[in-house]
């Protein structure tokens, strides 16, 4: 059985290490914070200017001056620090953030990532995604293996405008986990009752043994 959103997030959380500073994207990546193992300290960055992002506030705690990069109200923690956007992206560009976990529309076999624009349709903008994938230590994509029309999102080459070139390190989909290696993608794990053959059938990108 393929993984659901929460199971994909839980699998992504296994990539976290104690002491890491991590940036989580919008959507399934946000759920990863629910699965940080007990006893492990992981500091979440919100690129609008905060390290040490806490949970959503109670109704009484809501503060218009305290939001995450998805513009949702959040809370601070004892270790929280605030800073401006230039410093925030200074630490991203400067390689201080160990890992980014984000969603994608397409990933290519060479690690190219497209997740910000559909020409003629979606023109919202890239936000901080291009900075993150260019700057952080490791980029993990969490997404469904296929799109709403059932077409694979793991391609030989991306068809949509790129967010970054050769930037993805690991892909976690509802079918399994694939690592981006020199010559293509390598299956390193399958979801329960999903076979490597199922993944190959749902993938256009080159899968190596």
């Amino acid at each position: 059985m393929p993984w659901d959103r929460n199971q994909m997030a839980a699998r992504a959380a296994q990539e976290l290490e104690d002491g890491m500073y991590v940036n989580l994207g919008i959507g399934i990546p946000t759920l990863v914070s629910n699965y940080i193992p007990d006893g492990m300290t992981v500091t979440l960055q919100s690129e609008n200017g905060m390290l040490g992002m806490g949970p959503f506030p109670t109704e009484d705690e809501v503060d218009a001056d305290l939001i995450n990069a998805g513009k949702q109200t959040i809370t601070e923690l004892p270790q929280t620090a605030y800073f401006d956007s230039a410093q925030s992206f200074g630490m991203i560009r400067g390689g201080k953030i160990a890992m980014a976990i984000l969603g994608a529309m397409e990933v290519a076999e060479n690690g190219d990532l497209a997740n910000w624009m559909i020409p003629g349709k979606l023109i919202k903008g890239m936000g901080g995604a291009m900075d993150l994938v260019a700057g952080v230590g490791r980029v993990i994509v969490v997404m469904d293996h296929t799109n709403k029309r059932g077409e694979t999102k793991l391609l030989t080459e991306c068809t949509l405008p790129l967010t970054g070139k050769g930037v993805v390190d690991l892909i976690i989909t509802n079918l399994g986990v694939l690592e981006v290696v020199d010559s293509g993608l390598k299956i390193i794990e399958t979801a329960p009752e999903v076979t490597e053959e199922d993944i190959r059938a749902a993938t256009e990108a080159k899968i190596i043994n």
């Binding site: 109670t58 513009k71 200074g90």
Partner: protein, 231 residues
């Protein structure tokens, strides 16, 4: 040499002209200079280029300048919350120059520091890199991005003293310091102006050297996505 003005409109008097470039602080609707944006709308200044991470929502923040069609071009990283923006963009009334968020912040900061251009890895191999100078450092390719030198900065802070030393609050700081730095003139709105000497000098986030005009006023501080948990 007083910096304190009575209203947003008074603070902008003599600074606005058609076709100008304005840098605005804020992220989403958080920490936006809502009083100064309203005053720009009231002044009716046209053909504006606005460098701001976002474009507000339809009826609040920078969105109100789109309603009155005062904006010619936005320099932003994300405009997804604004339907009016989409309509005007698709009909060709409004230009957008998308900037990666960190590149936008650094272009403002750099200009404020007298740096006309810098090299970054962000956007290499994407449409953002098209037409820009590429240069290799230690075997890696970077692109050159230029500083944004604005005619005017409009900024929101939490508190100021009478000399314009600023303190921001939580994530409302965001683009406000870099936006403040990159303008020829910087006008700041705060929730409270306190007597000089009452702010601890070690806690000033942005020194008053960057601040030319200052107003105090009540802020709506609208919340874009109110998300809560049960206690």
């Amino acid at each position: 040499m007083g910096k304190i003005y009575g209203s947003a409109s008074e603070a902008l008097d003599g600074l606005l002209f058609d076709g100008m470039l304005i840098a605005a602080g804020g992220f989403g609707l958080c920490g936006i200079p809502e009083l100064l944006i309203q005053a720009v709308q009231d002044a009716g200044t046209k053909d504006l280029t606005v460098a701001s991470n976002n474009a507000g929502v339809d009826e609040f923040g920078l969105g109100i300048l789109l309603q009155t069609k005062q904006v010619k071009k936005m320099m932003s990283s994300y405009v997804g919350e604004n339907d009016l923006f989409m309509q005007q963009y698709l009909s060709g009334e409004l230009e957008i120059e998308f900037n990666p968020q960190g590149t936008l912040a650094e272009r403002m900061r750099a200009a404020g520091c007298g740096i006309p251009g810098f090299y970054t890895k962000t956007g290499v191999g994407t449409v953002i890199a098209e037409g820009k100078e590429h240069k290799d450092f230690n075997g890696e390719t970077f692109i050159m991005e230029e500083g944004i030198f604005a005619d005017l900065s409009i900024v929101k802070a939490w508190k100021a003293d009478e000399t314009g030393n600023l303190v921001f609050r939580k994530t409302a700081r965001n683009f406000n310091p870099p936006a403040a730095m990159c303008g020829k003139v910087c006008v700041v709105e705060v929730e409270e102006i306190v007597p000089t000497g009452s702010l601890d000098p070690d806690t000033i986030h942005l020194p008053g050297i960057y601040v030319h005009r200052l107003i105090q006023g009540a802020h709506e501080k609208r919340i874009e996505q109110r998300t809560t948990r049960t206690a």
